[in-house]
Symmetry: C2
Subunit: 333 residues, 2 copies
């Protein structure tokens, strides 16, 4: 059997994670039994939610297990099959985590159509969890109407870039917030947002206000912190906030304070937290719509590809600091 490199969760971090929280081990790849397939990882997705999985507290999903491979979405190729539903060479969406090989009984595997999911790594981004998150959060919670103003934080990222471009396609004004002039330039010039504000600006609120002359009708929250505080007073009556992520505080073990709920009352706002899996019934339509828009060039999508499984921890630390530029993916094989 080939060698299976695995990156195990070795310990749980307090504050920012470090290399000491992971361990790279090599063992022989497992052998598939009857009804199983051997999966070879092609791409591993790195996403902000993984920071939460490293903790042991209550959350919407069970924590990653210390001593086991770190969890994560993957694109895998069937390397050997003893399952009649899959044949060698099939490429599937999977969730086998930070390792080269894994066996599966087929449950939860999604065969990827190379005519639609092209390149395959899109299954981890635009046509996968991040794209579905963007679609569901914008359409279900945002319910955008033409002429409304949509603001999205982490606007150059896997989710935010799709939120803003979809908002434009729905006839809205789209304003992004991103980290640094290079990302902001990309968000406006390549993605076609109406404006993008650098969250490192010391005039963040004034600049967002200037970019949103009619206030904000929908805020897609990916970061929290200073951006949230700057956006909040600009929200309009009957505005909606989709709370998708708060990456600025993921390394902070203590709860922070949030906005005064008097604002939610006076403006009759709706603030809703969501996880993409709850909106799964909408995925087929969302994939079809996003794939068509992408292949027609109406939605741009950028990947930040890191080569080599062993680079995953370092790339993940960078993700939590906003160092990636586009959807972060590890090319494993």
């Amino acid at each position: 059997m080939p060698t299976n490199r695995q990156i195990l969760l070795k310990s749980r971090p307090t504050g920012a994670p470090s290399a000491a929280n992971f361990e790279l081990v090599s063992t022989p790849a497992p052998e598939p039994k009857d009804g199983e397939v051997l999966l070879k990882t092609l791409f591993l997705s790195l996403d902000p939610y993984m920071r939460g999985r490293m903790n042991d507290g209550p959350s919407y999903a069970a924590p990653a297990v210390v001593g086991q491979p770190m969890v994560g979405g993957t694109v895998s190729q069937v390397a050997a099959s003893k399952n009649k539903d899959f044949k060698e060479g099939d490429v599937v969406g999977s969730y086998v985590g930070w390792q080269d090989y894994a066996v599966s009984n087929g449950a939860g595997l999604t065969r990827l159509d190379p005519k639609i999911v092209k390149p395959y790594s899109l299954a981890l981004g635009l046509l996968g969890m991040p794209g579905m998150t963007a679609y569901a959060g914008l359409m279900d919670i945002g319910q955008p109407k033409p002429g409304e103003t949509v603001v999205v934080s982490a606007a150059s990222g896997a989710v935010g870039s799709v939120v803003g471009q979809l908002a434009k396609l729905k006839g809205c004004r789209a304003v992004g917030v991103a980290g640094g002039p290079e990302k902001c330039k990309y968000v406006v010039e390549t993605l076609g947002f109406d404006a993008c504000i650098d969250h490192r600006s010391d005039k963040l609120r004034d600049q967002i206000a200037a970019a949103c002359p009619k206030g904000i009708d929908f805020y897609f929250e990916n970061v929290g912190g200073a951006t949230q505080r700057a956006v909040w007073p600009l929200l309009n009556n009957f505005s909606r906030v989709a709370v998708c992520g708060m990456i600025s505080s993921y390394n902070d073990p203590n709860p922070q304070t949030g906005p005064d709920l008097r604002s939610v009352l006076v403006k009759r706002m709706t603030v809703r937290g969501f996880i993409v899996t709850e909106l799964a019934p909408k995925f087929p339509n969302a994939i079809a719509e996003l794939a068509q828009a992408y292949h027609q060039g109406k939605i741009k999508y950028r990947e930040d590809v890191v080569e080599g499984l062993e680079k995953a921890p370092e790339a993940f630390f960078g993700l939590l600091q906003g160092k990636n530029f586009g959807k972060l993916v590890v090319k494993v094989a």
Copy 2:
């Protein structure tokens, strides 16, 4: 013409309002012109929202005007009519504010059916704005399911008492939070809540937790402050929060901090602020359901009646401190 006593808003308060913010004046009652009626105030409603109307900042309704009668919902009798739709003696729901008499062209007046709105003061409470607020907030935002746990603050008040009793009728566990042992006893023994916690307790969170062994599925927020902070960590996944009022901070000119929105994300909560008027299409059904339940004895409703228009300011100051016990109404005539 009879004498018309009016309580004018004399100045806007900073912090808690005082007698200096109001002025009692007496003038001749106005004379109705063709198409108008002269209204004589029978009952004046005193409600927490009025504190917001005394301010000049942006809100969901225009501020009360300095030098004009303070605003407020009323039950009035037609004392003279030059309008073919109303005859002398009719009793109507109106919004003429803190005064004995007013003229109206009939717009916004609702004729009260003495067989349903019995006594008439119910039009300012159970069968008026507070009851509609309770009904809409519970049913539209709470969407309570049998077996769920509903917590409501200001539980002995005009809104909270209806929220909890309706929740019981819908098969929920109802837990109230109220100020002092007398109110808590009433909430459990008379209104039939499963439990009621005194918000003055120094073990508020522990006591609410003990009363909610399966956590909280819906929180109807009337007060904010310490009660909000105690309730928040007990909210379940997919819980809902209806933000109806935050009376504990109405006298505070500075924004407060609120809950960390990471909790909204992780628990996939929905937090919605609302004002009853937006849900007006549901009112006829709500009035019918609440009136029937009341006359069948399934919903109890308590009024705190103050006699005399001149007592309105002092009673209103007490309302903001939780001194009233039941729906506060001024009997004007």
